[in-house]
Symmetry: C2
Subunit: 278 residues, 2 copies
Amino acid sequence: MMTTRINGATRLYGIMGNPIAQVRSPETFTQAYTTAGINAVMLPIQILPEHFELCVKGLMALGNLDGLIVTVPYKARMVAFANRLGDTARCIGALNALRREADGSWTGDMFDGAGFIVGAQRKGYELAKRRVALFGAGGAGSAIACGLLAAGVESIAIIDPNAEHAESLTQALRRTFPACDVRPAAGVPAGSNMIVNASTVGMRPGDGLPGDIGTVTADTLIGDVINTDAKTPMIELALRHGCPYVAGKDMHAGQGEALLAFFAAATAAPSQQSPAHS
Amino acid sequence: MMTTRINGATRLYGIMGNPIAQVRSPETFTQAYTTAGINAVMLPIQILPEHFELCVKGLMALGNLDGLIVTVPYKARMVAFANRLGDTARCIGALNALRREADGSWTGDMFDGAGFIVGAQRKGYELAKRRVALFGAGGAGSAIACGLLAAGVESIAIIDPNAEHAESLTQALRRTFPACDVRPAAGVPAGSNMIVNASTVGMRPGDGLPGDIGTVTADTLIGDVINTDAKTPMIELALRHGCPYVAGKDMHAGQGEALLAFFAAATAAPSQQSPAHS
């Protein structure tokens, strides 16, 4: 592991959310920049809901902050602060990354789904023609659904205890991918050969599966967004049946790569003069 | 040197100014925190004048930013953002540090002078009864004058090309230290046995002395605020005459200690819960 040094010329990136102490990006991204010889750090930035707008405007006006990762609970709320949006962010109305371009404007997009797709591809799993049952129509579920449709899955059944959420995600996806079979569902449809948990069930000790999983075979591709070193109930299920799986850690590794590439693609790095004094 | 690691629980401190790439505090303070086993970093924060208020309000509202060092050109402007001021900041109307207290309020004070005093004491120099000629009535000069008077110097003659600045600093110092002999001056008075450069002269290559220095003996205590590894004209003068001296580097080392102690004395460190997920 190389040594991170912060000096006056260090460029700043931040991950904003609340709470913030549990996020892993500061460690993984800072290490990635250090290893690449880039003088930049990823900071944890805790923003309390009552100060949201004040903090966001202040951060985006700083002269040496070049990008933001956005986590819970601000992914939808941050859309209004981007000057332009990528396709996924526009489709689902949420983003998890913003970068500053050379002209000072901000571009936002959503990589929660890209991480899942990259994670699956890394493990050599075919996504095209899959019949997907997706638990969770929130931010992560929306982004993954978007990514899966772009990757060519055959159908997605969206299962969420909040039927309105499932319905409104269905509508948004149909607008962007009119040729695909997307529908809300009360449970895993017969014939599904991919099951993804994008709900928060599995996050707490003692959590079970996100719902009735139906029949699982060794061909069923299992996915779980919960990012933990422990085996979640979904991953335990996959191991028990010998299924291929994409765990939260696979997804987050893939997302890290996608985010680093997104930040690196800013139209130009701002430069700053360095006078001799301090 | 120990390895700095940034994670979600890292507490943030920042040095704000414009430009910012030249400041040294990010490196020295971050290293001091790392060595002490404190999970905190000191960041460079560039604030452009046109975004000053927006950035300051946003930074001070962040949930995990515990302190700010303030440098050029914001030392006077930041006074309005402190909920309470220390004696030196109140005397001269400028501050260079703010810390957040347990109740969320901010305490500000000025340590530019304290650094000079600590730097002189570290080298074993006596300040009491000195007859001082001070070049520069700006922020650094004001803070050093305040510190010198508190340390018991006999008199201070304030030399500044802007006579109004010299006069208004004189008035401010007389209000706080009515028993002391403080006056504006056109040059170094005869009988001075301490000469301090608190102007920016000496910062640029090719700069000379800040003015006519008069007669220097081996007893004359020389001070210079310019923080550089090179020998400034003032320090060259001291070396040539065998004078005791406090260089910008001595002053900045002393100021670092004073600032770390100021931040550590906040009424309580905010704490944050750490849920299991990321």
